[in-house]
């Protein structure tokens, strides 16, 4: 029996199994399982089943986003917004309506699409300039406050920590001391204008250890996150689909 015949048999048996389970467990649930197993099949090796599942996932995701954003932006905001502004200004004769500004947004959005036409593609830079400028302006203050000022304020605090009963909280104190030491040594590590030798080098070494501990914690959390997703899928397969968990 050559490989092609074997592949046909495997596909035929697979389709039969999924068809039986679709009839007994429900079509939608079985489709979910079909694509879950398809994506997992990559763990064995790359194969057409995986490629098909991946293509369907990407296609549906892109379609969902497109439709969702079209109705939310183009219809709900732009079209309905301008319609409301038109009514205010020309039907009710109530003067200027701020929603007319959406025309400007729509026009800038249209400019972005002009990249498809090389002769007038330069107009898309206007849209990009507005986006970059507005985002930079908005984020500059927010980042500076949230990630700079307030975070600095958190380490400029008394090292000693006390319990509600007024006793020294050893763990809190150690924790605060580690926070301050870790932050300062981390900053020293990234100071490159002085050679990392002597006492300065020692502090920088503590800084790199702090960074390594941070990366380790981050890795641990990432493992936990990925395992959670696997648990969720396995629960779906053996519980929701096959109904083996009561």
């Amino acid at each position: 029996m050559n490989n092609r015949v074997l592949a046909y048999i495997v596909v035929a048996v697979g389709i039969a199994v999924f068809a039986i389970l679709a009839a007994t467990q429900g079509f939608a649930v079985t489709m979910g399982a079909f694509f879950t197993i398809g994506i997992f099949s990559f763990l064995y090796k790359d194969n057409p089943y995986y490629k098909f599942s991946e293509a369907v996932f990407v296609g549906i995701s892109a379609g969902y986003w497109f439709v969702s954003l079209f109705w939310q932006n183009m219809v709900s905001k732009l079209y309905m917004g301008i319609q409301a502004a038109y009514n205010t200004t020309f039907v009710e004769h109530a003067g200027w309506d701020d929603r007319w500004m959406m025309l400007l947004g729509g026009l800038l959005g249209l400019f972005m699409l002009l990249r498809l036409f090389p002769k007038i593609g330069w107009l898309s830079r206007w849209s990009l300039a507005v986006i970059v400028g507005a985002t930079a302006g908005l984020y500059f203050i927010n980042y500076f406050v949230s990630n700079g000022i307030i975070q600095l304020g958190a380490i400029i605090a008394p090292l000693q920590s006390f319990t509600e009963a007024g006793k020294l909280d050893w763990w809190g104190t150690i924790s605060q001391a580690l926070l301050v030491a870790g932050t300062l040594s981390g900053v020293v590590y990234f100071y490159f204008s002085k050679e990392h030798t002597g006492a300065f080098g020692g502090v920088a070494k503590i800084g790199i250890w702090t960074l390594m501990l941070t990366f380790g914690a981050s890795f641990g959390y990432t493992v936990m996150s990925r395992m959670s997703l696997l648990i969720g899928r396995m629960d779906y397969l053996v519980g929701t689909w096959l109904g083996l968990i009561r």
Binding site: Y64, N142, V145, Y221, M224, M227, S228, L230, R233, D235
Partner: protein, 286 residues
């Protein structure tokens, strides 16, 4: 080739198989595991439980189905707590599928599909009066910024197209000053970061963030500085939160699988290192 050298060249698919077995078998076991509540979850719950009946809670669901094993239990526990304690909740999403995930979580609590009038523990709840779903709004963090000045401007209608002025719960809700508490459950951008930067630090929102475990280490500094009232980090945070709310949901059920999986990973790390030092080094010398 000795045992340790063979271990060094083991097919990765065998490791995958071990992990799958470690994750799946506990799903069939009926063993309860003690879940110790961490400070960041406890303080978040304390802030939540300090709310008086009738308080308005904004539940921002910024995630989609791929992250639901970690985050859906948080949403389920949040809605259950709101219903048990007569808190009014307003659902929004900065991710397109967020409000649908919220509805699914709400239905999990109810045990049946949502309708305009529902009954929960003998109480009758009416859509628009006791809860609303304002749906998804495009614009990421700019939506939060807009909500700071005007929630009706950011969300003119609910997810069914009903104008906000026709929803009794939204009467008098102008901006974050009229919201008592925000629970953001997020899987990335936009999510807790943006809520802290644009909601908390700019408009004084009282926020608890539920995140995937991948994001949790990056969120913790905001907790340490007091910008967040609490952090629910990944499945573990969700399980702790479920314990505090008083339910044994999916997160609690999954924690045994999580522990088994971690044991397997730790064992493989140990075995891999032993194999390297015992077998790998020898192979290098030869």
């Amino acid at each position: 080739m000795n045992f340790w050298v063979r271990l060094m060249t083991i097919d990765r698919r065998i490791i995958f198989l071990f992990v799958v077995i470690a994750v799946t078998i506990p799903l069939f076991l009926n063993i309860s595991q003690e879940i110790v509540v961490s400070t960041e979850v406890q303080t978040g719950f304390d802030a939540f439980s300090a709310l008086q009946p009738g308080a308005r809670v904004l539940v921002a669901c910024d995630y989609d189905p791929p992250s639901s094993p970690e985050l859906q239990p948080m949403a389920v526990a949040t809605f259950r707590y709101c219903l048990d304690h007569d808190l009014k909740f307003i659902i929004i999403g900065l991710w397109p599928q967020g409000p649908q995930q919220a509805n699914a979580a709400f239905e999990t609590v109810l045990g049946y599909p949502i309708s305009d009038t529902i009954t929960y523990n003998g109480k009758t709840l009416i859509y628009g009066r006791d809860w609303v779903n304002l749906g998804f709004q495009a614009g990421n963090e700019l939506v939060i910024q807009r909500m700071g000045s005007s929630i009706p401007a950011a969300f003119p209608r609910d997810y069914r197209g009903t104008p906000l002025e026709d929803l009794p719960l939204m009467q008098g809700v102008q901006n974050f000053n009229n919201i008592d508490f925000v629970m953001n459950i997020s899987a990335g951008y936009p999510g807790v970061y943006e809520w802290v930067q644009f909601g908390v630090d700019r408009f004084g929102v009282r926020l608890v963030g539920g995140t995937t475990a991948v994001q949790a280490p990056l969120i913790y500094p905001y907790y340490g500085s007091g910008q967040l009232l609490g952090v629910l980090g990944g499945l573990k945070g969700a399980a702790e939160f479920e314990g505090l709310v008083g339910v044994s949901g999916k997160a609690t059920q999954f924690m045994l699988s999580q522990s088994f999986a971690h044991v397997i990973v730790i064992l493989f790390i140990i075995v891999g290192n032993v194999a390297y030092f015992v077998g790998g080094r020898k192979q290098k010398k030869t």
